[in-house]
């Protein structure tokens, strides 16, 4: 931990020196306290560790109906896409040719699908689905990709168990200089 502290102090020092002002002037405290419970409806982050998931749930069978009415105009009836960026199904990372990268072939975590659909989809009306509808429609996308059974009830517990085919396909480069 001490190295992190050191890095923080050094970073602060460098920034203030570069900017030509002393760090003393930063001693301001204008933020207002807020509690995590007040942020429950605001914080949509749903990371792989399972924190932050709402209740509710459902199956791909239920999700098919939602997909066909709310998603297929842009993503195709079978998730085949209406453009390269809207294809949601298929692909193979090991193919000889340039691999097609989709939710099914490329994404390392199922949590990302929940997180993204909840915050950004459908693109013409983001955040208009209930939590159960999000579970259901992503269950259908995972099912079309052959990753889960149509009858699996997807919820915050079962989503955690879903293994994505390309889960080991990524290398964290965040500390590369």
């Amino acid at each position: 931990m001490s190295t992190l502290r050191k890095r923080i102090t050094l970073g602060a020092l460098c920034f203030s020196l570069c900017a030509g002002i002393s760090s003393a002037v930063f001693a301001q405290s204008l933020g207002s306290p807020i509690s995590e419970s007040q942020l429950r409806g605001f914080d949509l982050i749903a990371p792989p560790d399972g924190s932050g998931y709402p209740g509710g749930g459902g199956t791909a069978i239920q999700g098919k109906v939602i997909f066909e009415s709310r998603c297929s105009a842009c993503h195709g009836m079978k998730g085949e896409g209406t453009s390269a960026v809207t294809r949601l199904v298929g692909g193979d990372m090991q193919s000889e040719k340039r691999p097609i990268r989709t939710v099914g072939s490329y994404w390392p975590h199922a949590s990302t699908l929940f997180d993204y659909v909840q915050r950004a989809m459908p693109a013409d009306a983001p955040k208009s689905l209930s939590s159960s509808e999000v579970y259901q429609v992503i269950a259908y996308i995972l099912n079309m990709n052959g990753i889960i059974e149509a009858s699996l009830v997807l919820n915050r517990d079962s989503l955690q168990q879903v293994e994505m085919p390309n889960k080991d396909g990524f290398i964290d480069s965040s500390q590369a200089l």
Binding site: L4, R7, I8, G11, A12, C14, F15, S16, C18, A19, I21, V25, F26, Q28, S29, L30, G31, S32, P33, I34, S35, L39, F42, D43, L44, I45, P47, P48, D49, A73, C74, T82, S83, M93, R98, P99, R101, V103, Y106, W107, P108, H109, S111, T112, D115, Y116, R119, A120, A123, P126, K127, G169, F170, I171, D172, S173, S174, Q175, A176, L177
Partner: protein, 423 residues
């Protein structure tokens, strides 16, 4: 001064950059303008009409000359299947210096530009902190701020050059997802310190208030460095398309992590693995493994004039000019070649060489009417040298098309037409 007195320093007409200074510059001026003057010889100059009547007076908000309004960002057509999504590119071939006017700064949106009322906007810092805090815009305006000039580049910039065939484009259409500005804001660590970072926190997760609630994760050590919450751009409040009322600004790194319309910073032990750091903005290598969180932008330069789709109308001396930048330091050197990389000459770096900012370079070049291939090669203060396109593509493949920073070639043919080529 005759052409022979201009000292040639590399093949195919490159002239010593010292001719840009003092006496030498006069020499270049004569060489370049003599034919122009010749064309108008015999014409008498008269007092123009605008010198004979008063013009309109001062105004509350300035606008550019109607004779200069062809300078536009280049954007695609609106796509009903991607509402508000897409990008616009800066007109690099028309801009000078190293600062992009705010109205011409490139854009990239994932769900359009939100119309944010700053009095209702909130910035929340929470997660692994001693005290979660919420800040209003008014609160933030009261903090001491820092100002720095930085470039901002989309990691998809120049990505077409990974493709098998050279795009028939301009400096704008190929490279226009880079811009430079002075950003003013609050060092992020100030606000993180105020909330009190818990020892186990390792990442910040930043989310915008646009309809996509775009999110990115950034390691805490990087976030504690030169990252700021930017409130002003070139002296005025950050424009809506740049994140009004506030954006994260992560100098030197791919533009996407400088989350616009910033509303949430959550501290955690692990990254969130948002869609835009897994599905997108990741770099799949030839072995099919993909690099995630590849933030810094490479050492790069682009010749903006002469550049794609321009035409050299007559033989003579031209100023080869362009911009160079590096996500890892300042620009120490830019070399230019007129013979496709066989010989190189040092260009003059015109602007102050500050860290993670655009630097303008210049070198005089005499075009004698033959074929030429113009290239530029940047070296940064860390010693990183811009690679050739071939070595970059050989190393990275073209499964992913982010982070292109290879040397690009503009071919000039005997008719004077300039085009992007692979050389």
């Amino acid at each position: 001064m005759s052409k022979q007195e201009l000292e040639k320093v590399a093949g195919n007409g490159l002239i010593n950059r010292r001719h840009l200074l003092g006496l030498g510059l006069a020499g270049v001026g004569v060489a370049a303008s003599s034919s122009l003057l010749g064309a108008d010889a015999g014409m008498n100059l008269e007092i123009p009409s605008w010198s004979k009547q008063p013009g309109p007076g001062a105004s509350g908000y300035g606008s550019r000359s109607k004779f200069a309004d062809d300078m536009q960002r280049l954007s695609g057509n609106p796509n009903p299947l991607y509402p508000g999504g897409g990008a616009s590119r800066s007109p690099l071939h028309q801009l000078q210096g190293s600062i992009t006017p705010n109205s011409l700064h490139f854009e990239r949106h994932h769900a359009g530009i939100p119309d944010i009322d700053p009095s209702r906007h909130k910035l929340v810092i929470h997660g692994l902190v001693r005290q979660p805090l919420v800040f209003s815009y008014e609160d933030l305006l009261r903090y001491p701020m820092v100002s720095k000039i930085y470039f901002l580049e989309c990691s998809g910039n120049s990505g077409t050059l990974f493709g098998p065939n050279p795009a028939d484009g301009t400096a704008q259409s190929i490279h226009g997802l880079v811009s430079g500005a002075e950003w003013t804001g609050i060092p992020l660590y100030t606000l993180l310190d105020e909330a009190g970072v818990e020892p186990e926190a390792q990442w910040i997760n930043a989310v915008g208030a646009d309809a996509a609630s775009m999110g990115r994760s950034i390691p805490l050590n990087r976030a504690m460095d030169d990252v700021m919450i930017a409130l002003f751009q070139n002296g005025e409040p950050v424009r809506p398309e740049q994140g009004y009322p506030m954006r994260l600004f992560v100098p030197g790194c791919e533009g996407n992590i400088s989350v616009k319309w910033l509303t949430q910073i959550k501290l955690s032990t692990e990254p969130s693995h948002f869609r835009d750091e897994t599905s997108k903005y990741t770099d799949t290598r030839l072995d099919r493994k993909s690099l995630q969180f590849t933030y810094p932008m490479g050492t790069k330069s682009v010749i903006t004039s002469p550049s794609g789709k321009m035409k050299l109308e007559r033989q003579g001396v031209y100023q080869v000019s362009g911009i160079a930048w590096s996500g890892r330091g300042s620009i120490r050197r830019v070399e230019v070649s007129a013979d496709g990389g066989r010989t190189w000459a040092d260009a003059m770096i015109q602007s102050h060489q500050s860290e993670k900012a655009l630097a303008r370079f210049l070198i005089p070049w005499e075009w004698s009417g033959g074929d030429a291939i113009l290239q530029s090669r940047a070296t940064d203060s860390q010693g990183n040298v811009q690679p050739t396109r071939t070595s970059l593509v050989t190393e990275k493949g073209n499964i992913s098309t982010y982070h292109f920073h290879g040397i690009q070639s503009w071919a000039v043919n005997t008719a004077g037409d300039v085009a992007n080529v692979y050389a």
